[in-house]
Symmetry: C2
Subunit: 527 residues, 2 copies
């Protein structure tokens, strides 16, 4: 068994504190030494990706102390306990098994009387068979016509991750002949969301996926009834157009209201569910089961790297350690995620949930308040759009914001134009390379308004092309980074009690059981 201790009680952490301010990246990244550093501070990932941290405020001494921290925190051992089935989600007394949805990292894990890897693999297989029948026309609408669209109804983790993954591969799949069906998403309880999606959807040729682990999520059931109304108005039998992704114990599991039901369980947190049936149903229907399998392979391969005790071979652990160094020792409060890829336009929104919901906590695993900062604010937008927007503050604002770039050598579609001697893809890559150096090194100027201080740290994940394996690896990298950071902070990254109070008070408003401020706000909205 490992020891769970607060970060600030560890000797290695105290040793690390002494290194604060020891690395000036403006100097380290300058001249020929800068080039050497970029080549050296590069860690291979799965699917041909690499994590480069040359522009972070670390050097060999800091890395040595980060390695000592990893060891004293027993990060890899804790990961081992997790994938071997320990009750790591202590708040809800649950196992944490999302890695098992894509591979077997350690010993067999039995829960609810079954082997869990077998269970998840079986669901993937059932989904693959169902999707293939839909694509083949063996499963059709009542008129015998093929389904052309799949609509996911879910919120939070049942929405952001699968949506981000769909957007990431949509154009790639179209280009590569594996695009099977359009996917759409209904999530917000705002009635304008469901109404607008349905107004632009050919419901007669659509399969709707209701995603709710408990089968009782109010927003999702509300949106389901929107969909049922639309199907009824079109004279269609809803039960021939809907499938469920839920737990085996939910009221949806065996209901005749659904064409089929595919299962996840309590050991897959919503924000970690993209590789489970939650992502599997919609992505397999949209792109075919083979593409989804390739996505899982990439994630599984990346998970393997997270088992390495050597920080230079464990990119997620290193990324996590550097993030904690920046948060707790260097004192930075936010992290920007900046993919230079339009396909990753909603990836930052997914990471925002993944990271902030997992590690936005103030008490440790034993319920004791921690006396250090935990998860940072995560925000971001794709590449050059951000450059023409909020990068002003990142370059010249009064706070330093560590950055996480992502870039690919090649575009997904391969359609390009040559203007002023370079392609768009070359311009895109030139921009991200330039930004890293601009943030790190800055530039002096007589006019202080045009002066760039530099010393602003960033890392970059570089890949060849955003394909399913690379996307899976990217997703797993961040899931594992968030997990390792939770271990370092000694918090439970797998519950979300902070979302409960709002739900309780909203119910009071709807039941008109309010007084004081809540009543006046309710009146303001004529509720």
């Amino acid at each position: 068994m490992t020891n769970w201790k607060n970060l600030d009680t560890l000797d290695a952490y105290k040793a690390l504190e002494a290194t604060k301010g020891s690395v000036d990246i403006a100097t380290a990244m300058a001249g020929e030494n800068g080039g050497t550093r970029v080549a050296k501070y590069n860690v291979p990932m799965a699917a041909g990706l690499a994590y480069n941290f040359a522009a972070k405020q670390v050097d060999d001494t800091v890395l040595e102390k980060l390695a000592a921290l990893a060891k004293e925190s027993e990060l890899v051992e804790k990961f081992e306990e997790l994938y071997n089935g320990a009750v790591v989600n202590t708040g809800e007394k649950r196992l944490v098994l999302h890695q098992l949805t894509r591979g077997q990292l350690g010993q067999a894990v039995t829960a609810d009387g079954v082997d869990k890897r077998t269970f998840y693999a079986e669901q993937q297989k059932r989904i693959a068979e169902f999707a293939t029948k839909v694509h083949n026309g063996e499963i059709t609408n009542a008129a015998g016509e093929k389904f052309t669209t799949v609509v996911q109804i879910g919120i939070g983790g049942s929405d952001l991750g699968p949506r981000a993954m769909y957007i990431a591969l949509e154009n790639w799949a179209k280009k590569n002949g594996t695009f099977k069906m359009d996917a759409k998403f209904i999530s917000n309880v705002d009635p304008d969301d469901a109404a607008a999606v349905l107004a632009s959807t050919d419901v007669a040729h659509s399969i709707f996926i209701l995603v709710s682990k408990s089968g009782t999520t109010l927003e999702t059931l509300t949106n389901e009834s929107f969909v049922k109304d639309a199907l009824a108005k079109a004279g269609l039998d809803a039960s021939k157009h809907m499938i469920a992704v839920t737990s085996e114990t939910s009221p949806l599991a065996k209901s005749d209201d659904y064409l089929a039901a595919f299962f996840m369980d309590d050991y897959i947190g919503g924000r970690f569910s993209s590789t489970s049936a939650v992502g599997g149903a919609v992505l397999s229907l949209a792109f075919g089961p083979d593409v989804f399998a390739r996505f899982l392979d990439g994630a599984a391969a990346e998970d393997q790297t997270a088992k390495n005790t050597d920080i230079m071979k464990n990119p997620a652990m290193l990324d996590a350690l550097i993030g904690v160094y920046e948060r707790n020792i260097l004192g930075y409060e936010a992290t920007g995620v900046l993919p230079y890829s339009q396909a990753l336009s909603r990836f930052p929104a997914h990471l925002q949930q993944l990271d902030m919901e997992s590690n936005g906590k103030s008490v440790n695993r034993f319920g004791e308040p921690v006396s250090y900062k935990t998860g940072p604010i995560i925000f971001g937008e794709p590449g050059t759009n951000g450059q023409h927007s909020f990068y002003q503050l990142l370059h010249q604002g009064t706070d330093i914001v560590p950055l996480q770039f992502i870039g690919f050598k090649n575009s997904q579609l391969g359609t390009d134009v040559d203007i002023q001697g370079s392609t768009s893809q070359q311009k895109l890559c030139a921009n991200v390379a330039a930004q890293i150096v601009a943030f790190a090194c800055g530039k002096d100027d007589e006019n202080s308004n045009k002066r760039f201080e530099g010393g602003r740290p960033s890392s970059i994940i570089v890949g060849d092309r955003l394909e399913p394996e690379a996307l899976g690896a990217l997703l797993a990298h961040f899931e594992n980074k968030v997990m390792f950071q939770g271990f370092l902070w000694n918090i439970n990254s797998f519950d979300q009690e902070g979302v409960q109070l709002g739900k309780v008070l909203a119910k009071k408003v709807l039941a008109h059981e309010t007084e004081g401020a809540l009543k006046v706000y309710s009146d303001m909205f004529n509720i």
Copy 2:
């Protein structure tokens, strides 16, 4: 003439510092007094909106000191100088006239030998005539067929603002019979962006708007050539499908390559350009000139409120003052923008640019470094989606993040379902009301993991329904808030020198004039 002084040199600021920690909102918002407070701390805006700041960490004493700060900073007087044509953008030595694109707030402003209000109104009129001819079928494609789609090609301010406004009114316009044409946007230099938009666009029936003030923005010209290629491949004459929005002195202004050109000028910053021809062309084509005129009317009416010296009648100034209080005295580093409206899904991204690009500065108007924090990080996502995502950190994380909610009593489309005794719209409104109180008051619990500290400040802008006037008022509110905060920080909110260094280095990469770190990164991307 007003006096431009650093915030920390003002007597009123020193007086304000003494109030730090004096207001406990968990107490202030509790019980019947909480209700009184919500009713009292409410400032009317234009278009039926109201700014409610009851859940902010202020009381009558703090408000009195904020009023004194507004007076000593001469905020309203500085605004008056701005709209009367002073060179407020000192870095670029330019007037700042975006308010003139929607109304005349003060005396006539002459620049470049013309009356500027007349000039902007004339462009609006020319756009309206052009749009009407397109809608009537007087201007058609070469085959004499009506245009059905408009595609905006622009980046940064030429993209985010107009795109957010289009999304905000798209469904409303469809519902209300004023929807004329689909609008699409190409912005990123990523070739996959342009390729994907063009692949899903019927170019033969599309008008493309090239937006570039200088006519030389590399990203925009690159994307223009993507479009020209697509038109040429379809056997179409590009000059019959493209219009330009540019300055009168740009190479695009009189080029035969465009069907028409509409003008803005150097006095309209990109991020403030939604009410100029930059937003006007695409929104007038999409929704008709009357809808665009209503949007401008809302903005103009809101601008009028920003002239009031009384902080309780000037919502933008009050919002600005509270924001500075939170940033500089209470020490908060970020602000979340959380619209409970799917239609405002991209409004936070627009505000992110507006605010961070304007006020992410470290030197004052005289080029001297300031010794206090300026613009915060801005991030956000729509309503209940955020609740199921990053709200965990907002409720229970180790940092306090001030929040700006936006909500409407009624949905745009009016299509709704009643589930468990309430409509979706009621659930949506109940949620935002509940969140404000949950953040402010918190809740104790024996289990520390389920404990909510409270004391987390928020404000809300409440409206009846998101229609063009309300959207205009909302936009103007934030533009004016950002302006007033720039005045308080004594910085120039209207330039963006921080985006230059990246551009310079990217050119070096493309010219292969690199060494050291930049060369190794370039090699990594095979540039």
